[in-house]
Symmetry: C2
Subunit: 196 residues, 2 copies
DNA sequence: TACCTTCCTTAGCGAACAGTACAAAAAAGG
DNA sequence: CCTTTTTTGTACTGTTCGCTAAGGAAGGTA
């Protein structure tokens, strides 16, 4: 098996390099020329291995969700109470968004904030991802209401939107140079709004 | 005076149209071709009246700050207490960011989130604007600490970063389709974190 | 009317964009 | 060895990018 000439570059490593570029400059802010340069390959190798720019970006987003972005779903699932879950999400976001090992903030939040009309399909796909994260927030609150850990009248949607707002704001703050300590303080203040 | 052929388009109206495009699609997401089409003029008229794309954007940002974006500074100055000032900023942001008369969110927050490396000067200029807004937040808190309306140990910087985070998050939520009611609930929850 | 200044329209500039045709090169199968 | 299959590097496609040269058009001034 494995007919033909084998590829001479590490596909996973190239994908990681592409991730760093899209993370830092966004979808349209990253050109194929910059991608091939950073990935250490020529354009035909990129198109052969990943399809086109859009497909490469989709694969970047997918692997991002299973690595850098997985802490959110993990925290929502592992913590026993919604309060502890959201506190952990914010605490870990403060660390992750300012980790000097990679670009600041969250790729899903920031990579398609400004796109020209011709690429609104990509922006819509990312918006849909953020909306599903918001649903995850709401469902976690609803689970605690159902379990009696939160009052029956709790507005799960409002609480979910609030913490999504804080997380998205933290991402932008990190990209504007906020420190991990700054964001930890934000996380602490945001948890003061948790219903009594 | 006023020698030569007078221009046949309304410069202020053209600037408003440019504002709407930059507001919706961002700096790089808006092409000169789209600008001229929406402004109803040809490229040479745009360059003659405004300089180049960057100068047009700068003028857009300046007029934006004196109109749509002025509510923040006004609220910080007019309200007697910092608490009332921040509550008003969040309340008015909820309305302004979802006003159907113009694109959602805040132009200064969202127009240069993703730019290619060649335009990082524009992104830096906008970052500096956001940083000065953050300074305004901090100074408003410090004023209340000095006046005895807030405890002497209040962390003005942390509080300023927190409310800047909420405002930026609200802008992104609005661009993702959040309603005015959603953002009003966010504003209410965010004020629950105000120091006792 | 004649002139002067400025604006508008047409047409196009070089550069960068995403994407590809083509043939040499390198492996496995026969 | 020879064919087949896939990757490789070179060079290139058509399109869009921001921007502008050139000349006619339209006003005020004399």
């Amino acid at each position: 098996m494995a007919r033909g000439r084998p590829r001479t570059f590490d596909r996973a490593a190239a994908l990681r390099q592409a991730t760093m570029l899209f993370w830092q400059y966004g979808y349209e802010g990253t050109s194929v020329a910059e991608l091939t340069k950073r990935m250490g390959i020529n354009a035909p190798s990129l198109y052969s291995a990943f399809g086109d720019k859009r497909a490469l970006f989709d694969e970047v987003v997918e692997t991002y969700g299973r690595s850098f972005g997985s802490f959110v779903a993990v925290a929502l699932e592992e913590e026993t109470t919604a309060r502890e879950a959201f506190a952990r999400v914010l605490r870990e976001a403060a660390a992750a968004y300012t980790d000097p090992e990679h670009p600041a903030g969250c790729l899903v939040i920031s990579a398609t904030t400004n796109v020209s009309p011709k690429d609104d399909e990509v922006a819509d796909a990312m918006r849909e991802l953020r909306r599903s994260n918001l649903d995850g927030f709401r469902e976690r609150v609803e689970a605690d209401v159902a379990a009696g850990r939160l009052p029956a009248g709790t507005d799960a949607h409002a609480l979910a939107v609030y913490y999504a707002t804080v997380v998205q704001g933290m991402s932008q703050q990190a990209r504007d140079g906020a420190s991990a300590a700054d964001l930890e303080a934000v996380a602490g203040l945001a948890m003061a709004s948790w219903p009594a």
